[in-house]
Amino acid sequence: MSDEPHIEDWAFLPVETVVHTPSEIREISGPGLLRRMALHSRDPDDRRWRALLTSLRAESSGARSKQGQAFLDAWSAAREVEPNLRRPAVGWSEDGLLQASWAFEDLPGRTFSLEIQPDGKLAWFFRDLASNKVVGSEEDVARLPDLAVAELTKSFVARRRGLRG
C-alpha cells in the first residue's frame, strides 16, 4: 500500500485548516497537497489521528503489518457504513496486541473494543448497559463480522463536528 495519504483520510478536515496561499497551492498537487493540508491542520487532534493512520500504514512493511492492516480494514469497513463514526483510542498492549476502543464519557455503559493479534486475527467486544446487550467473539476471527460493524456504527456516531473520524 502506498504511504501517500488517502483522500478519505482527509475528507473531514475542517475548511479553515487549509491555509495555503494561491502560490503555494500551485506548487503542490494531488497527494502532496493532501499531505501539506494534514501538516498544516490547526487541530492537534486531527494531526494526531492522521499521524496514527500514517504510522499504521507504515507498519504494512514491518513486523506489525498484519495488525495495522487489520485495523485499517476494520476502520474502512465501518466508515463505509457510517462516515461519521467516532474515532477510537488506539494503542499497543505490553503483549504486542493492537487495541482499539470506543468508549466515551457521554455514552456511559457503552463500549466497543478490538484486540488484534500479530497474525491479524482479531477479537471484538460490545457492551451496551442501556439495552443489556453483550456480544462479541469468544475466539479470534479473521475479519470484523457484519454484526460487529452494525453494533459499532449504530452506537458511536458523531453528532457534532470534531468528534468524527
Binding site: D45, R48, W49, A51, L52, S55, R86, R87, P88, A89, V90, G91, W92, S93, E94, D95, Q99, S101, A103, F104, E105, D106, P108, G109, T111, S113, E115, A123, F125, R127, V134, V135, G136, S137, E138, E139, G162, L163
Partner: protein
C-alpha cells in the same frame, strides 16, 4: 513512611492512581477507560494472587508513581470503594521489594484483586466484568491539573 502490610485493604474513600502502559497512540476527546485498561499484564498474571497495580494517591503522589515506571503511560483515577463496588474482589496494599521499596511513595503501592480471567470463564463475560470495573476510573487529562 511505613507501608501498610501486604494484604491490608485500601480504605474505600481513598483515591487510586492506575498507570497502564504503554500509552495509547491516539486518544479521542471524551474517551474513558475500558476493560482493556484494567486487564492484568503478563507479569501480573504470573503472581499469586493476581493483583493489577494501582497506587494509593495519598501515600504516593503522581510524580512519585511515575518514578517507578519510566516511560509514558495513561493516568487513571478512581476511588477504592468504587472499584470494589464495581466488581474487584478487593483492593489491598502490596509491599514492593528492595530497591523499589526504598523509593519515595513506595508505601502506596497496591493491587486490585479478582480481575484475572477465571478458569472456564467465557471471554465476553470476563470483558464485561472488567468493563464495569474500568467504569470506576476516569482518565486524567493534561489540563486536569
Amino acid at each position: 513512611m511505613t507501608a501498610p502490610a501486604t494484604g491490608t485493604p485500601v480504605p474505600g474513600d481513598l483515591e487510586l492512581l492506575r498507570l497502564p502502559r504503554p500509552p495509547k497512540d491516539y486518544v479521542p476527546a471524551g474517551w474513558r477507560p475500558t476493560h482493556l485498561e484494567v486487564q492484568p499484564s503478563s507479569a501480573e498474571k504470573e503472581s499469586r494472587p493476581v493483583r493489577v497495580s494501582v497506587w494509593d494517591a495519598v501515600l504516593t503522589t503522581l510524580e512519585e508513581a511515575k518514578a517507578f515506571r519510566p516511560g509514558d503511560f495513561l493516568v487513571l483515577r478512581g476511588l477504592a470503594g468504587s472499584v470494589r463496588a464495581a466488581g474487584a474482589s478487593d483492593v489491598v496494599y502490596e509491599n514492593l521489594e528492595a530497591p523499589a521499596s526504598r523509593l519515595p511513595g513506595a508505601a502506596g503501592h497496591a493491587g486490585m484483586e479478582g480481575l484475572e480471567r477465571r478458569p472456564g470463564e467465557p471471554r465476553l463475560a470476563w470483558c464485561n466484568r472488567l468493563d464495569v470495573v474500568a467504569a470506576a476510573f476516569r482518565l486524567q487529562r493534561p489540563d486536569d491539573g
